[in-house]
């Protein structure tokens, strides 16, 4: 292919090259004709080394008009892909164009693609493994094919586009987005010869194209016969059982039907094919999956019902209301997800990261952003109703009651804002940034500030009392039985009389207490940066039990059904027995868990710095 005139357009990005002041190129992963995939470090995360994949594509169209069309197509495709959410689809974090190059930043999947596995395997891969993978591909295809308003056809299912991650899950890794830049070029076909069905050569993009390609992929995996090296559509010349007699007749028939020359002779949907695969006897043995080295694959038997990937860390807590999960991410968006499926309902972008947990009140989702504003967005549509600007970043999570929403800002004020109209009823000035989230009692609001004070403010915005800790109070107070419980950066957990502000008891932990207490049945549960979750007697502050994790516990616990749930910076979500603190299960995410769980519908919803929000069975 000819080199276009723009200098350096064909050149590879050197190691250390910085894209957008954010992504530092670490090395080349793979290179094709007009695109290359690099590993890169996302410099936005200063404390952890977060790597991602950057796919760089060159806009090779010759005329400026054609380039503009290609660029528009790229942006449209990228936005479409960014809206997808399925555990089997690699997440897109970012996309941008610079000059003739366009870039997509993707989740870096640790694992091996099936072509590599095939190459590295001696002999045949077991039928159980192949069927297991095929079942997973069918599930992703079902998701894509039922996309509204029109189905998404992947068009390039083949072993090298199916990645097996360290958890044994299949991920679709290449959506062929690069093709938009040379779609009109002569001889360019979307798809791969050998795996693509006849009608694809005529430009047809029916979902059943993917079924054929999956059939071809299964055939390849079972027989080791590479369809790219054979004349097209000649699978019937190579009966599977002749090459690999261990394959069951049932599977042979399924592959045969998927590979039918005529579209109408194939399975009509991915779901139909999935059901056929699921009924095979080999499915019972499909746990005999090819196991990759699992450096961190300790899951302790908990499988998420779903997970949803945002484009950046999730540090705030999800809110669940009316079958919808609302969660804010550092990627600036508030996401509304179907609580049962994790499907994206809508998202609302703010001008900054969201570290504040939303609350839903009278049909409005309320949340703060580091762009200084509090947002009120209609809970069912995601349309903004009003915003309330403040003079500082908002980390504090709003609480709504009595028709008002209460929240703090880095501008040192506690705000009371009318939920209907967004009018500020009053502001209460404290001595420091208010990152703690208020607790709203019958007649009093309790909130901490970074300048070491806990305040009790009446409904008119006047101080009732003030309690001074030795350091900042970032933890959010919990109110129970006329007591206010709060953690301090001075390592103490405090029990304060709600009426008088007098200190009733305090308990010293080994590290700052950023976590907000949860109170249940006379016990206060709270985490500490010393790595423990503490259970303290609510009356006396005496230790009932404590449970050690691998790192700081800044996540705030939630109690549900005699279990206490919380996250740790060690990357795990924990479930402990409230009575004795015995471990029930723990679930590993891909990054520190500072988000706090929310319990609803028998599920635990929690975010992680790995950018996902998880729905875990309680």
């Amino acid at each position: 292919m000819s080199v276009h005139s723009e200098p350096g357009v064909e050149g590879r990005l050197p190691e250390g090259y910085l894209l957008r002041d954010r992504y530092r190129i670490l090395g080349l992963l793979a290179a094709g004709g007009m695109s290359a995939v690099y590993t890169a470090q996302d410099l936005r995360f200063t404390n952890v080394r977060r790597t991602c994949a950057v796919k760089a594509m060159v806009n090779s169209a010759e005329s400026p008009d054609a380039r503009a069309v290609a660029l528009r197509n790229f942006e449209r495709e990228a936005s479409l892909l960014a809206s997808l959410s399925h555990p089997g689809i690699v997440q897109i974090y970012d996309c941008f164009s610079e000059g003739r190059r366009s870039y997509v930043v993707l989740e870096l999947v640790q694992g091996k693609d099936l072509e590599t596995i095939l190459t590295e395997t001696r002999g045949f891969i077991s039928e159980g493994s192949v069927v297991n993978w095929a079942l997973q591909v069918c599930a992703v295809l079902k998701y894509l094919h039922s996309h509204e308003p029109r189905p998404i056809v992947f068009r390039d299912i083949k072993p090298s586009n199916l990645m097996l991650d360290h958890h044994g899950h299949i991920r679709l890794i290449d959506f062929g987005i690069a093709k938009v830049f040379h779609a009109g070029e002569k001889g360019t076909m979307i798809g791969t010869e050998g795996y693509s069905p006849p009608e694809q050569y005529r430009g047809v993009a029916d979902p059943r194209v993917d079924i054929y390609a999956l059939g071809a992929t299964i055939h390849h995996l079972l027989t080791r016969r590479d369809p790219r090296k054979e004349p097209p559509f000649t699978f019937d010349k190579c009966p599977i059982q002749e090459v690999n007699p261990s394959v069951s007749l049932g599977l042979v028939e399924i592959v045969h039907r998927a590979l039918a020359y005529e579209v109408d002779d194939r399975y009509s949907s991915a779901e139909q094919m999935r059901q056929a695969l699921a009924s095979l006897p080999s499915v019972a043995n499909s746990h005999a999956t090819v196991r990759l080295d699992t450096p961190t694959g300790d899951r302790d038997g908990v499988t998420p019902l779903w997970r949803f990937g945002s484009e950046d860390e999730i540090r705030s807590s999800p809110a669940v209301d009316n079958g919808t999960v609302y969660v804010g991410a550092y990627d600036n968006n508030l996401y509304a997800l179907d609580a049962e499926t994790g499907e994206l309902l809508w998202k609302y972008p703010t001008g900054g990261g969201i570290g504040s947990s939303p609350c839903v009140y009278e049909g409005v989702a309320l949340f703060g952003s580091v762009d200084h504003a509090l947002y009120a967005v209609e809970a069912d549509t995601g349309r903004v109703r009003w915003t309330c600007p403040t003079q500082g970043k908002i980390w504090s999570s709003p609480r709504a009651a009595f028709g008002h929403v209460f929240f703090g800002s880095d501008d040192r004020h506690l705000y009371a804002v009318n939920v209907q109209g967004g009018r500020v009823a009053w502001k209460f000035e404290t001595d420091g940034k208010v990152r703690s989230s208020p607790a709203v009692g019958e007649e009093t609001i309790y909130v901490g500030c970074e300048a070491s004070a806990l305040y009790a403010v009446d409904m008119g915005g006047n101080t009732r009392w003030r309690f001074r800790a030795r350091r900042g109070v970032t933890s959010s107070p919990a109110l129970a039985r006329e007591m206010v419980y709060v953690g301090g950066q001075d390592r103490y957990v405090y029990g304060v009389d709600a009426q008088s502000g007098w200190l009733v008891w305090r308990y010293r932990t080994g590290g700052p207490v950023i976590s907000s207490p949860a109170v249940d049945d006379q016990v206060v549960f709270v985490g500490s940066a010393d790595g423990h979750l503490y259970a303290l007697n609510a009356e006396t502050g005496r230790l009932v039990w404590r449970h050690a994790t691998g790192s700081q516990v800044t996540s705030s616990p939630v109690v549900f059904n005699h279990r206490v749930y919380f996250g740790s910076v060690d990357g795990y979500v924990y479930s402990l027995d409230t009575e004795a603190g015995d471990l029930r299960w723990r679930f590993q995410t891909g990054g520190p868990v500072t988000s706090s769980p929310t319990a609803a519908h028998g599920l635990i919803y929690i975010g992680s710095s790995d950018r996902y929000v998880y729905a875990l069975p309680a």
Binding site: H404, A425, D458, R468, G495, D497, Q499, S500, L503, W505
Partner: protein, 287 residues
């Protein structure tokens, strides 16, 4: 819904600028501590080794404090008047400690802080101070000590011995404190049944008391007392002879807490009055 109005409107303007007319109460029911007490030698003994101490403080005005109450019952033991000396000293020393560390400082500021000990720590320290004083000053004496600090509807209790703090709601008596008697411990350990305990010869032997040594473990409790419920502090001269049902009934049947205290003492005496009888009864404010 006054708070709602103030929320919508912003801060209230200062009120009560006009003085109430002479002889007319500004409010029909001003905040006050509704507390009564009684102590009696009983029908058998010749002197009263129990001590009682009641402090009740209210403050009205701007930035007011919730009503403050400190109630102490101590039941002394030991020959040669050591019993009453021990109980009286323990009550005075603990009350001094509590008022000087939590009530007097609060009169000067509306802010509490983490550099001050917590209320539970103050209460425990108060009992330990009493323990030191009795151990050093009253040879051969010892005492029970039950202190209840009341702030608004919350009761903070520190306790050693077999005097009791009880919560009485409309129909039921709940013993908040735990008796530190040998018999009680034997029952807990499954070495005695409740029936055997009732006739045990060492009925009144304490395994924990104030003034018996330099070390002492102090129990603490925090309870929210619901409106119109009662907190009762009493020595064993009351609970040994009157059952829970009788005590509850007497309290419910008597309109004022002071007359209820007198009825309780009278009933204990009618039941034989074998020991000194001391009661303090506080009714939490109506909601």
């Amino acid at each position: 819904m006054g708070f709602l109005r103030s929320l919508l409107r912003g801060p209230d303007p200062p009120t009560a600028t006009t003085a109430p007319a002479a002889g007319q109460l500004r409010s029909p029911d001003p905040p006050r501590l509704d507390v009564g007490w009684a102590t009696d030698v009983g029908s058998i003994r010749d002197h009263n080794e129990d001590s009682v101490l009641v402090i009740s403080a209210v403050q009205e005005g701007d930035d007011q404090q919730p009503p403050f109450g400190l109630f102490i019952v101590a039941d002394g033991m030991g020959g040669h008047r050591a019993g009453e000396a021990a109980s009286s000293l323990a009550a005075r020393v603990s009350a001094h400690h509590i008022t000087s560390r939590c009530y007097l400082p609060a009169l000067l500021r509306t802010e509490s802080d983490a550099y001050q000990p917590s209320l539970t720590e103050i209460l425990v320290d108060a009992v330990l101070a009493a323990n030191d004083a009795v151990y050093q000053q009253v040879r051969g004496g010892g005492t029970t000590l039950t202190c209840a600090l009341v702030l608004g509807p919350q009761a903070y209790i520190a306790h050693v011995g077999d005097s009791r703090a009880c919560l009485i709601d409309e129909a039921r008596l709940e013993q908040i404190t735990h008796d530190h008697t040998l018999v009680e411990r034997l029952i807990e350990n499954g070495q005695l049944t409740a029936d055997e305990a009732a006739n045990h010869p060492q009925q009144n032997v304490l395994y924990r008391a104030v003034g018996q040594g330099s070390q002492l473990e102090v129990d603490t409790h925090v309870r929210r007392i619901a409106p119109d419920n009662h907190l009762l502090l009493c020595s064993d001269g009351l609970w040994n002879v009157l059952g829970s049902a009788k005590i509850t009934q007497l309290i419910q049947d008597t309109p004022s807490v002071q007359s209820a205290c007198q009825s309780l003492v009278a009933a204990a005496n009618r039941a034989g009055g074998p020991d000194n009888i001391t009661v303090i009864l506080w009714r939490s404010p109506s909601g």
